[in-house]
Symmetry: C2
Subunit: 332 residues, 2 copies
DNA sequence: TGGTCATGCGCAAAGGTTTGTGCAAACGTT
DNA sequence: AACGTTTGCACAAACCTTTGCGCATGACCA
């Protein structure tokens, strides 16, 4: 048998579909008695509203889109978990669109959001995206957009990031406090604001600490493998660095690999500090000292902001920067 | 201005909406001339069909749901990547529902799938799910369902798994080939079929190799932390084991942590082999020998099966078992 | 008793698209 | 010239639900 509709129930109870609708939605215009009859029969028939019709009528889809560069094992899973939970708890559903870091896919995904009439969009930008004009179709339609993690500075929507300069400062400060003055730095995709900010923080705090900035001690890498190779090169340079700063878990993994390959002991022969959401550092022995930024918090906050904008509780673009804290473990 | 509808275009061109619809869909019943006029105006107005109305009319949603226990950093990301890509390439969109390993959430998620009129469902079961009756609402409506990874044996839908017994055999065989006879085993949630199968394979191959099975050398753990503790306990036992088998990345991480804590060298003092999708083993030095199962392949195959069922190219329940291969690295 | 008001429900439109059917005009055949 | 076929479009129904409005009915009050 096909799924029962509101009309079926109406026919069976000799009622008008509108009354059934109101009964099911607990509208006061329907008597308690009728309401019960309707709801009981609905229960019995296993009635579930046809969401497609509801959506059309109500002109919304109940969908929130998550535009993300691609799934990776480090930052994203906890961000996802948070977003899905927050979104779910508020009766929306999450649809995922990957850009694979290409602008063209990101543009397509924006169009898809428009077609699906999503009610809000969470965006972590593709690295190819150097400006935001391709989001215009959404913004024109007043579709709320919140950027998080991988953002661009010039944006008039809400955003959630971490205080990149500040956490980098904390990391380098901690290394300096332990007496390190020759510090290697591993950074990610230089197209990303997040990379540029952390790099800026790195240079800035070195200057503040009167530590000379050495171009040759820093490198940019796209993944663990590249990070490892770059780390090896940096460690060749004499006088040797005594510590590494890595701006992500991925690069931390690469650096540790390089360090182990050179059979250096952590932290006696070389220290390492990372920016991390705290999971990967647990893998190692000693565990890796890091500045803890919670992917979960970023995701949750981004979702909360978006829901706020959707509900029109938030009118103006808010730029939230989450604070992070130093987690001292054994690697410094 | 509001988004233009098909009716707007019809009015502007003095046509009937039906003709406009057919023109846009390249229906042969409309003359090339009219078709061009319509398509040009549509282009000019930036017309995009109201997907909500299309969905209602066509009685489909273009959505495929992914029901998953929860996002974690190991297996899931690559599975996700694969599924999203496959689904996207076929014009569907992916909506994600987490169960947090609870049966109640899984039941709710099934209802949501039904309400949203999703056209297919990919399921990796919650550990609480010991039978599949809560999927009846979907199966009754003939909604295609494909189970993958975390499945139950008794199911009449398609499924994608890896050959658990066989890969465990390969792992243990490899350890035995290197002379190991006291082998510790770390297994996951004993509620999961995947765990039971791998455990069964473990015992079976020990028997075949005439190695006595020692209850005290195996343990079950829910996460890395527990895995680490269990590994420590197992290593206390005399005569000491000479090798570890771990059925997942997560447990491998725990085991290595325990090994490093005891300052044992890999592989000289203790060997370790894991079932893994090959990413986490790269973190370590030496890299961890493992049986490579591709999360990406599992996801891609599951998505392909589902699409096949949706297109009615696949009629009967197919149970695909992916093969895996031994990747010899430095830990055995 | 006539008027006001609240209650409970039905009617019909609306949301935008797709599609079966019908119909007129144009064309071709005998 | 009469008939059949094709072409190109219009009409209206259908998908299912929600909602503004209107209309009875009965209660209440003056």
């Amino acid at each position: 048998m096909n799924r029962p509709t509101i009309t079926d129930i109406a026919r069976l109870l000799q009622l008008n579909p509108s009354t059934v609708s109101r009964a099911l939605n607990n509208h006061p215009d329907v008597s308690p008695e009728t309401r019960n009859r309707v709801q009981e029969l609905a229960q019995e028939l296993g009635y579930a509203p046809n969401q497609l019709a509801v959506n059309l009528r109500k002109r919304h889809s109940g969908l929130i889109a998550l535009l993300v560069s691609e799934m990776n094992m480090f930052f994203n899973p906890s961000v996802f978990r948070a977003i899905e939970q927050e979104v779910y708890a508020n009766g929306y559903h999450l649809i995922i669109l990957q850009s694979n870091n290409t602008l063209i896919r990101e543009q397509q995904n924006v169009q898809i959001c428009r077609q699906l009439a999503v009610e809000g969009v969470l965006v972590s930008l593709a690295s190819e995206a150097q400006e935001l004009s391709h989001f215009a179709p959404l913004l024109d339609q007043k579709v709320p957009v919140v950027f998080f993690d991988r953002i661009l500075p010039q944006n008039h929507s809400c955003s959630v990031t971490i205080n990149d300069v500040e956490i980098t400062r904390q990391a380098i400060q901690h290394l300096a406090d332990q007496g390190h003055r020759r510090i290697g730095g591993l950074f990610g995709d230089p197209n990303l604001t997040i990379t540029r900010e952390r790099f800026r923080g790195f240079k800035q705090v070195l200057q503040e600490l009167n530590i000379p900035f050495e171009e040759k001690h820093i490198a940019f890498a796209q993944d663990s493998e590249q990070g490892s190779q770059q780390a090896l090169k940096i460690m060749e340079i004499e006088p040797a660095i005594t510590a590494f700063f890595t701006m992500s878990d991925e690069l931390m993994v690469g650096a540790v690999q390089a360090i182990e390959q050179k059979r250096l002991r952590i932290p006696e022969e070389i220290a390492i500090i990372a920016i991390s959401d705290g999971f990967a550092p647990e893998f190692y022995n000693p565990k890796i000292t890091h500045i803890r930024h919670s992917g979960y918090e970023v995701g949750a906050e981004a979702a909360r902001l978006l829901l706020g904008v959707i509900r029109e509780e938030i009118k103006d673009p808010l730029h939230v920067q989450l604070e992070c804290k130093l987690v001292k473990l054994g690697s410094v």
